[in-house]
């Protein structure tokens, strides 16, 4: 899976927008959206919100967790705990990126939010690397990590599994190599 795919999935998350146009309910395969009343908040998927926003057809209301105070709390919590803490949204990183890129004018203190989310992300990635490291070092057979988001799994998933494969091969080759040697002799 690629980050783009993860982002695609994240675009299905619902956000609230305030449209500035009027439109009856629209019927899509994924479900009905609307009705859109000017000035009245309505929940739509992120992809539509961004599309409307780009066309200046709506104002975005940031998700509740996208707030400096809450994110600070989350970041501090994340730093304090050794394990992963639950994130406010399974797509927090993607949503932050998308919404801040396209609708930063509707999000108060956008820059701070960006920094905070990045901090949280970095902390989590560091933890992830650390745990991968200890996993490999101790040659554990399995490990369990809670509260990882899809994008985070994606960043290490492919690499880690391949690396483990390689290591496995290397280790295996080491022993058969010895035995083959003995056969040679």
């Amino acid at each position: 899976m690629e980050p783009a795919e993860v982002e695609f999935l994240a675009e299905k998350e619902l956000v609230t927008i305030v449209p500035n146009f009027s439109l009856d309910r629209i019927h899509l395969i994924g479900g009905d959206l609307g009705p859109f009343n000017p000035g009245l908040p309505v929940e739509v998927p992120v992809w539509l919100a961004i599309n409307l926003k780009q066309r200046q057809k709506c104002r975005l209301i940031p998700p509740e967790w996208m707030d400096v105070g809450k994110l600070e709390e989350i970041r501090d919590q994340e730093r304090k705990e050794d394990t992963f803490t639950p994130m406010p949204s399974p797509y927090y990183m993607e949503l932050t990126k998308l919404l801040l890129n396209y609708a930063s004018d509707n999000i108060p203190r956008a820059d701070e939010i960006r920094t905070l989310v990045k901090d949280t992300w970095d902390t989590r990635m560091a933890k992830l690397r650390l745990s991968a490291d200890s996993f490999v070092r101790q040659q554990e057979a399995h490990a369990k990590l809670d509260n990882l988001t899809l994008l985070e799994i994606n960043t290490t998933g492919t690499f880690l599994t391949q690396a483990l494969d390689h290591m496995y091969k290397l280790r295996n080759n080491l022993q058969p190599g010895e035995s083959s040697h003995s056969q040679d002799f």
Binding site: H27, D32, G39
Partner: protein
């Protein structure tokens, strides 16, 4: 007095030099005021959200470098110079009520919950806040308010020295504060009394009462002058000057109560009321600044013995903090104090005091949807069209106009050089108005962006000394109300039109379409009530006044905060208690409360700021405001939608709930009658839906009452029903063996029918009518609806028929009946799918007479059809409520389709019996038309194929096609039948088919539509089954599913079986 903070706990103090007042409030802000007139206090946000409810007090100690804030169980010390340094003292296990710095900076005293008072977990619950105070200078005495007296404790020993009390104090004291000289002690009580004692003599020298009796929660002496600043729990800041001209402290009575008493209380103290921040009084210089600032007084001599109880409830030692709250044992109360005080003639200290009802200050005029004028950034209007914001900082004075719907007009930024304070916004124009200045007259300024010429703006000056107080826009006109008690109407292009006088000063006005609503003061209200009147006029082609200055009902002690129209044009308003009322034109223009926004608030100080009302769909659009009455401009507030709820009794019960729904539906569709009466267009569909919804509710209520054996109530309910539904009710009643009820209902039905007939005597067009009733009336009552016409003539017959019916009904097993009853509604959905042919209708028509009671008994399968009829209704209602119009269309279609042809069969056979009656359903007729439109597709197709059936030029129906095929069979079975009898027989056979088979026929008749509707059916089924599951227990639905499945095998028996299973479950 002026508005300082939002409601909630507040506190106040002077800084050391007396140059400024510092206040803090529950909004978490600390404000620094130059003086009372300072409109632009410096605000420091100390607390974040967590603090906002808990921020309790600010005390600035001598060096003015430490601010202490206690929040609940903690004390925080903040150094003013550096916000980042915060010390926290923990350890209290009761909420900290109060604390105070020792003048020598050694002690920080604090009170926790007193034992004397109720111990409580939250500051909010504490009755009194027990604000204690050190004697300034020497710090020898600590004054603590204990219930209704002030106790004075000596430093370090914590002995109670003596007590101060006063006869006028009837409620616990909240606050005590020493004068800077240490000579006087002021105390504020929960009920708004402020009392000042001379500590030395222990005499009361001053008493005053807060006009609104709000609880005083903060008091502070001016360091130099004889002023006391106070704050109350509603967030107001006030100043009391010239405290008892106390040059001679021994004066028994300081008669000079604050001279400007009247000034102080002249304004009202709610933010909305004094929106523009009145308060004349108090330039600090005016005080007779004696120099008693320095003469420190000695603590009075007599020492009272007190027991100090240092138990954990009252006091705690934390570091350098010595907590000194003491629990007093009772024996020591100061008899001599009381004695001393009784020496004082209590009355003499008070002004002659009128104790009767007090006139309420009149509320100021306001624009609906605006926030107070004194704010720097404010909403001038927020309505359903858009938002007008006003910024008036130093650098910028501008107005921002933004439209919700960008297609109306683009957002606009206007300079506000004339300093407009009022605005209104419509889809055609922006209307602005300003008050007059020295040079300039009051102006009305209109930006008519809807204009097609180049001049979009016009301005009108008011005559001299006439100020605009309220403005509004309608469709094609603008209006303003002025101080000259005039309402001036203009066209939107600027032509002056009508002008008329108002009976009183305007409060607010609103326009919509051609309606103008003006609210004004009819008189003076008393005891907090406003006395308002309302005029409603129509400025259209025929001008008329709908409301002639009727009194406007408001909740007690409240004032008007919003007035306007619903999007559909019903006048509405909101009062400060959050009650939304709407004009019920169907009830002689009475005002009906439709929503209590306060019910939806989470906190005591939260409010909803109404911005718009929609009747269809029922939405109250408003902005939730935390701890305030109105929203700030930033961050941009989000609109929320509240449901309406009429304050009916017992809405928790099924009955109450349905009653509320019914009347709400009636009320919120009243605008349609109004619109149609005035020749406006409106959505017929919506109206029919509303009627249908109402009838469903009535029917449900009817069934409920039936179940509860409330037959009289049933008849009352039936009285509200339309004619068609009454017949359904009759059917229901007879089915549930309530013959008495059924008879009464039938009388009622006859009555209704005759009324209807009388009403529409002139509407003959029977052909048309038949078509309607045939085409339509969909699933429900309407087939019945046709009958009543005939019933009139057959009334006598009914009775004998009834007897037979009764007998026949006896045949059926009674327990089956019993069980079936409750099921009618709860379970009905299950069989809703089965479109049965309404056997009851056909047979009687064959006989040429109708007996509603006959139905159940004469037919082999009475349950299914009836359940069917009812269920279509219930299901329908459910779906509509679930999802909007589309769902309705979707599932309407399949219901209607099989029905369309059927009535025709009936007509074919029974045409001869039908008199040109115009019998049923005046109200239903429209439904019919609309139905027919929907059914239009198929019927048109069918028409193409229609040939033989020339009698009424109708396309062939399923039944006819079936009959053609089966005529031979019938004839062979009964060779001696004539044509009419053949049809009759055919009909009864046709009815015995399962619904699926019949569907096939009807589809064939329609031609080509089969697959389509079959698909519809498929689609529909899962939904209905879901409903079913929701509605009834799983087991039941299983039963019925099973029965459904097995049906096709042997129609009649299966029907019966399934019905039985149905009943059993």
């Amino acid at each position: 007095m002026r508005y300082g903070h939002t409601e909630g706990h507040t506190d106040v103090c002077f800084d050391d030099t007396g140059s400024c007042i510092v206040t803090c409030g529950s909004d978490g802000d600390v404000r620094i005021w130059e003086n009372l007139d300072d409109d632009d206090p410096k605000s420091i946000n100390v607390g974040e959200k967590a603090f906002s409810c808990a921020l309790k007090l600010v005390i600035v100690n001598k060096q003015c470098d430490v601010i202490v804030i206690c929040s609940d169980f903690m004390i925080k010390v903040v150094e003013v110079t550096d916000n980042s340094k915060q010390k926290t003292f923990r350890g209290h296990d009761a909420p900290v009520l109060s604390l105070s710095f020792d003048p020598k900076d050694v002690y920080l005293t604090c009170t926790t919950s007193w034992l004397l008072l109720q111990k409580c977990n939250d500051v909010i619950n504490a009755k009194s806040i027990c604000r204690l105070a050190w004697q300034p200078g020497s710090g020898k005495l600590l004054a603590v308010p204990v219930d209704k007296v002030v106790e004075l404790f000596r430093r370090e020993t914590w002995d109670s020295q003596f007590k101060l009390s006063d006869a006028s104090i009837t409620q616990p004291l909240n606050v005590v504060v020493w004068s800077p000289c240490g000579q006087f002690l002021a105390a504020g009580s929960v009920d708004g009394n402020i009392v000042v004692w001379n500590v030395e003599t222990q005499q009361c020298i001053e008493r005053m009462k807060h006009e609104k009796k709000y609880s005083i929660c903060g008091l502070a002496w001016h360091p130099k002058y004889k002023q006391i600043a106070y704050t109350d729990t509603e967030g107001n800041l006030g100043l009391l000057e010239n405290i008892g001209d106390v040059e001679k402290p021994n004066d028994k009575v300081a008669s000079a109560v604050a001279k400007d008493y009247n000034d102080l209380f002249d304004g009202d103290d709610d933010d909305y009321l004094n929106g523009d921040g009145i308060e004349p009084p108090s330039s600090p210089k005016s005080g007779d600044n004696e120099d008693d600032a320095d003469d420190l007084m000695q603590p009075p001599g007599h020492v009272r013995r007190a027991v100090i109880d240092d138990d954990d409830d009252n006091s705690l030692d934390i570091g350098l903090i010595k907590a000194s709250s003491a629990l007093l044992e009772k024996e020591d109360d100061g008899d001599d104090q009381t004695g001393g005080f009784s020496a004082l003639p209590p009355s003499s200290t008070q002004q002659p005091f009128y104790d009767g009802p007090m006139p309420t200050p009149r509320q100021k005029p306001f624009q609906p949807g605006s926030t107070p004028v004194h704010l720097m950034h404010r909403f001038m209007v927020w309505n359903s069209v858009g938002i007008v914001r006003c910024y008036s900082d130093e650098q910028d004075n501008a107005i921002d106009v933004e439209f919700h719907d960008a297609s109306v007009h683009h957002a606009t930024h206007l300079p506000n050089s004339l300093s407009h304070t009022m605005a209104d916004l419509s889809t055609e124009a922006i209307l602005l108005a300003c008050e007059s200045t020295e040079e300039l007259a009051s102006k009305l300024h209109c930006i008519h962006f809807g204009s097609w010429d180049a001049n979009k703006e016009w301005t009108v000056d008011m005559p001299k000394d006439e100020e605009i107080e309220a403005i509004c826009l309608g469709q094609g006109w603008a209006a303003c109300a002025t101080t000259a008690l005039l309402v001036r109407v203009f066209t939107v292009g600027g032509v002056q039109k009508e002008i008329f006088s108002l009976p009183g000063p305007v409060v607010s006005m609103a326009g919509h379409g051609e309606q103008l609503m003006v609210v004004y003061h009819r008189g003076t209200g008393f005891d907090g009530d406003q006395c308002l009147g309302v005029q409603l006029m129509e400025l259209g082609m025929k001008k008329r006044q709908v409301l002639h200055g009727d009194p406007l009902p408001l909740t007690r002690k409240s004032y008007l905060v919003w007035v306007g129209f619903s999007a559909e044009g019903s006048p509405c308003y909101v009062d400060s208690e959050g009650i939304v009322r709407m004009l019920n034109r169907g009830l002689g223009n009475a005002w009906v409360p439709v929503c209590n926004t306060r019910e939806h608030c989470k906190g005591k100080y939260d409010h909803y700021w109404v911005v718009g009302i929609h009747e269809n769909p029922q939405q109250l659009r408003c902005i939730p405001c935390k701890g305030a009455r109105f929203p700030p401009t930033l961050p941009r507030p989000a609109v929320a939608v509240l449901p309406f709820k009429l304050p009916y009794c017992q809405v928790a019960t099924e009955k109450g709930e349905m009653e509320e729904q019914y009347w709400r539906s009636v009320l919120f569709h009243g605008h349609m009658d109004y619109l149609s009466k005035n020749g406006y267009e409106f959505d017929e569909n919506a109206k029919n839906q509303a009627v249908k919804e109402q009838q469903e509710l009535l029917m449900k209520l009817f069934a409920l009452s039936c179940k509860l054996e409330r037959e009289f109530r049933c008849v009352e309910l039936a009285d509200l029903m339309t004619h068609g539904v009454v017949n359904l009710a009759i059917k229901y009643a007879s089915r549930s063996r309530r013959l008495n009820l059924a008879q009464r209902l039938s009388e009622l039905a006859v009555q209704k029918a005759s009324q209807l007939a009388a009403a529409q005597e002139d509407e003959e067009e029977e052909e048309d009518f038949r078509k309607h009733s045939g085409a339509g009336h969909s699933s429900s009552a309407t087939n019945w609806g046709q009958l009543p016409g005939r019933r009139v003539q057959q009334d006598q017959e009914v009775e004998d028929a009834e007897e037979t019916d009764a007998c026949e009904e006896e045949d059926e097993t009674p327990e089956v009946h019993k069980e079936k009853e409750p099921n009618h509604f709860s379970k009905g959905v299950t069989s809703a799918e089965v479109i049965t042919p309404k056997p009851a209708l056909v047979a009687p028509s064959g006989r040429g007479r109708v007996n509603p009671f006959k139905v159940s008994s004469s037919k082999k399968d009475p349950v299914v059809p009836s359940a069917n009829v009812l269920d279509n209704m219930t299901k329908y209602s459910k779906k509509t409520s679930l999802s909007g119009s589309r769902a309705v269309n979707k599932q309407n279609a399949p219901v209607i389709k099989p029905l369309t042809p059927k009535p025709k069969t009936k007509q074919a056979s029974a045409a001869s019996f039908f008199q040109p009656r115009t019998p049923a359903t005046n109200p239903g007729e429209k439904t019919v038309e609309e139905r027919e439109e929907k059914a239009g597709n198929e019927s048109q197709e069918a028409k193409v194929t229609a040939q033989e059936n020339t009698e009424n030029r109708r396309p062939k129906t399923g039944f006819q096609m079936w009959l053609e095929e089966n005529r031979a069979n019938i004839l062979t079975d009964n060779p001696d039948l004539n044509e009419a009898e053949v049809i009759k027989e055919g009909m009864s056979r046709f009815r015995m088919l399962t619904s699926e088979e019949r569907m096939v026929w009807t589809e064939q008749a329609r031609g080509g539509k089969v697959s389509d509707s079959a698909e519809d059916k498929k689609r529909k089924r899962p939904v209905s089954e879901e409903d079913e599951v929701k509605k009834s227990q799983e087991q039941k639905s299983e039963d019925t599913n099973v029965s459904k499945k097995s049906k096709p095998l042997d129609p009649p028996t299966n029907n019966r079986l399934s019905a039985f299973a149905f009943k059993q479950s």
